[in-house]
């Protein structure tokens, strides 16, 4: 019974991480495209679209991050301690990027001079790169086996700069760029539909085309980087590799690749259906492929889910609270998104 509960809590933790990777990742991706828009002729239009797309949702995403932390320390205290003793520089970096990002996104809206606007955009864009990279690097360092129980098995900096840490960071950058571009295609379509009614002789840039191409490029980059990282995993962490290509992680790994390919194909053909759902499925499956690939370990080869588990009574309560809360939160979230969509229809 205790084992079932522990696995349930581990599942909830993985789900929270996956939710942050998809929801938060899409947001970070938009930030990355904002940074890259600097070389495009229609920078201002691209940034206006990104502003428009991000404004209503971005603050809710951080909640998934908080859940990941809370579920981790309550469900698996030993894991939380070990990870932070080993990788605190990565988390410190990610946090700083997180606050800078939020602050300068707001600042850009109120900035009056073009130089302060440019500064705000730079800080916003660079921190959009840094945050997902650092968070994912922490997962990579865990997968590499450099995080030991009660502290790192190598010096902290070495654990943080492990090739797998860098590799996971690179996957996160391409994945967020991919999901960001994919969702921005949708936002550009809505934006265009809204402006076409009022403005017949449209001279503006074709933002749908702009992000359609970028989504395809990012999808290919994501798959290429993932392949390299898979080779790295095989070299550094054979048990995780085995779990990902022959164990529980396999179905998710396959799903991830197929979903990303499907989105790329849809973009190629210019078919704008299902691509957002597939994007979420694809990015989420990358997280699941790694997470399920590590089963039964939370720290590969060192600490299992059962060994890391906190007090059984607390874990059961945590699981109960999570289920009750989901029942309350999911309908509310749907209502919020409906209201948001309705605004787009009205405008």
């Amino acid at each position: 019974m205790n084992t079932v509960v522990s696995y349930g809590v581990a599942g909830a933790l993985l789900l929270a991480v996956a939710a942050y990777s998809t929801a938060g990742g899409t947001d970070y991706g938009a930030g990355i495209w904002d940074l890259l828009a600097g070389r495009f002729r229609h920078t201002a239009e691209v940034r206006a679209l990104i502003d428009h797309a991000m404004a209503p949702v971005w603050e809710a995403n951080n909640v998934w991050l908080v859940f990941s932390a809370v579920i981790c320390w309550t469900g698996f205290p030993l894991l939380y301690e070990s990870v932070f003793l080993s990788l605190y520089p990565l988390f410190a970096l990610a946090l700083l990027a997180l606050i800078l990002r939020g602050a300068f996104f707001a600042f850009r809206k109120v900035a009056t001079s073009s130089s302060s606007m440019l500064l705000a955009s730079r800080v916003f864009g660079i921190s959009s790169l840094l945050a997902p990279f650092s968070f994912a690097a922490a997962l990579g360092a865990i997968a590499s086996g450099k995080v030991g129980v009660g502290g790192p098995v190598v010096p902290v900096w070495q654990a943080c700069l492990d090739p797998l840490a860098i590799g996971f960071g690179a996957v996160a950058l391409t994945a967020t760029a991919f999901s960001g571009a994919s969702f921005l295609v949708g936002d550009a379509r809505r934006y265009r539909a809204a402006t076409d009614e009022t403005d017949e002789n449209d001279e503006g840039p074709d933002l749908v085309e702009y992000f359609r191409r970028r989504a395809m490029v990012a999808a290919m980059a994501l798959l290429a980087v993932s392949l390299v990282v898979l080779v790295l995993i095989a070299a550094e962490s054979p048990t995780v590799f085995h779990g990902m290509v022959a164990g529980l992680g396999l179905p998710f790994a396959i799903t991830a690749v197929l979903a990303v390919l499907a989105v790329a194909a849809l973009m190629w053909r210019g078919v704008y259906r299902w691509y957002r759902v597939l994007t979420v499925v694809g990015v989420g499956s990358f997280v699941f492929a790694w997470g399920f690939g590590q089963v039964p370990y939370v720290l590969p080869g060192r600490l299992t889910i059962e060994q890391a588990a906190g007090a059984p009574a607390i874990e059961a309560l945590l699981l109960g609270i999570t289920v009750v809360a989901l029942v309350l939160v999911v309908p509310s979230l749907l209502l919020l998104y409906t209201l948001d969509q309705r605004s787009a229809l009205e405008s």
Partner: protein
């Protein structure tokens, strides 16, 4: 010199990272706490104001509610960021505490996290809904917010009261909790009084803070219905709660006397265990335990703690030096406690003034001095909350979990340079956030005044569309 003794003590036995870690945690918590009163209690004020507007068909009340909802949402967003930082700081700064006690300590945050999520979603719905939902539906959905905020605060207090009076488990051979009793771990002895003391403080602060904005307007001669309503509703909530808080605070202090005697000794700068213990108003304790620069009221402390002058109060000297707050900590705690009690007493005087005016002329007090006091009551409440938090947290030193784990043993044993760098960066970034936040509020206030004076000729922009994270213009 007490300061030197304390630093010597730190240097001798504490990990080098302890000082910057404590400073950083104190700073980020103190900052976050500023955002909590409005985050938890503002929704009730707003929904009550909306209710008044709907029932009396009063556009002024509705305008106030709508503008308040914008301020509520903006500051909630800032609080979300500073709160996220805190949840990671537990790991970065105090990993050993989390590893040993994360499960029993963390359950409150499990509740708080979801309550916070619910509140975030419904603040979004509330903000979006002004234009997109029927007024009745919008109003009813708004009532989700106050309980969600209270539930979140309840979760955090579960964790904090557990640190002060840990219970609900036995220690296993490896020092980790075993045989955990969930109910016992949640409902620890300190939970009751800490929860009510905090919730009442949050509502008082939100009430006085919001009212103080309109008190300033009142003093500047803007004595219209808008300012009268904006002042009366929140100030009444604060005023009703002030005397209640006096009683709760009294009960809480006596509970600390029973349950955390070392903290109580620090609050009352008591060195020697004795009966007929005086109550020091102000005062600084020196290294030898004598108190200077204060006014002692004979036997009052014993009287308050046990209803009799012969009540024996334990002094700091009766604890092992490694088990009690240092002299420096004790002086912080005592000063903070006095500030909190003093400000609470002033709040009661304002309440009396308000009540007398109401009984005599069924109207607001006429004196400008009342409104000057009310204008300061907002800031005063924030100072009182910070002081109360210093009292309970510094008073628990050197323990992170009372009598079970010292902060020394909880801290991340890293090179302090890293923590100083992180702290320095946070300081700069938090200053930037404060600047944006305040300048945004000022801009909103300026634009709303222009709207009210009818100086704006262009199309009417709904208040919630002026917020940087609000809904798209519909």
């Amino acid at each position: 010199m007490p300061a030197v003794t304390a630093l010597d003590f730190l240097a001798a036995s504490a990990p080098a990272a302890l000082l910057p870690s404590r400073i950083q945690m104190a700073f980020t918590l103190a900052y976050h706490i500023i955002l909590v009163p409005l985050g938890v209690a503002f929704p009730l004020l707003t929904v009550v104001m909306e209710g008044i507007g709907l029932r009396r068909n009063d556009p002024v009340a509705l305008r106030l509610a709508r503008r308040w909802s914008v301020v509520m949402a903006v500051q909630f967003a800032v609080g979300a960021v500073t709160g996220t930082i805190l949840s990671f700081e537990f790991g970065i700064l105090w990993p050993r505490m989390m590893g040993r006690f994360g499960d029993v300590f963390g359950i409150g945050f499990g509740i708080e996290g979801w309550a916070f999520f619910l509140e975030a979603i419904f603040i979004g719905i509330y903000l979006y809904g002004w234009k997109r939902l029927p007024p009745k539906v919008h109003y009813r959905l708004g009532w989700v917010l106050p309980p969600a905020g209270v539930l979140g605060a309840f979760g955090v207090i579960i964790a904090n009261s557990w640190m002060n009076t840990p219970a609900g488990f036995q220690l296993g051979p490896d020092g980790r909790p075993i045989n955990v009793d969930v109910i016992g771990a949640i409902f620890t002895p300190a939970l009751g009084y800490e929860f009510w003391h905090l919730i009442v403080a949050l509502y008082m602060t939100a009430g006085f803070m919001v009212a103080s904005v309109y008190a300033v307007g009142w003093l500047r001669g803007r004595r219209d219905r808008y300012h009268r309503l904006g002042f009366t509703v929140p100030f009444t909530i604060g005023a009703v709660l002030a005397p209640i808080q006096w009683v709760i605070g009294d009960i809480a202090t006596r509970a600390v006397f029973e349950g955390q005697p070392a903290k109580f000794a620090a609050m009352e700068v008591t060195w020697k265990t004795q009966s007929h213990n005086p109550e020091w108003v102000g005062g600084v304790m020196r290294a030898d335990g004598t108190v200077v620069l204060g006014v002692p009221i004979p036997s009052l402390d014993s009287l308050l703690a046990g209803f009799s002058p012969s009540t024996v109060v334990k002094g700091l000297a009766s604890f092992n030096p490694s088990d009690r707050p240092s002299i420096v900590d004790a002086n912080f705690v005592h000063l903070a406690f006095d500030v909190m009690v003093g400000l609470g007493s002033i709040a009661i005087l304002l309440t009396l003034w308000y009540a007398v005016a109401w009984v005599r002329y069924r109207d607001l007090p006429r004196s400008n001095w009342f409104f000057r006091g009310a204008a300061l009551a907002g800031v005063g409440s924030y100072i009182a909350i910070e002081a109360g938090w210093i009292t309970t947290e510094v008073g628990r030193q050197p323990w992170i979990v009372y009598n079970l784990m010292r902060v020394n043993d909880a801290v991340n044993p890293v090179d302090p340079v890293y923590i100083w760098i992180m702290f320095g960066t946070l300081l700069v970034v938090y200053a930037v956030i404060a600047f944006f936040f305040v300048s945004l509020l000022l801009r909103l206030s300026a634009r709303w005044r222009i709207d009210d004076e009818g100086r704006r000729g262009d199309v009417d922009l709904a208040p919630e569309e002026a917020a940087p994270y609000g809904p798209r213009p519909a």
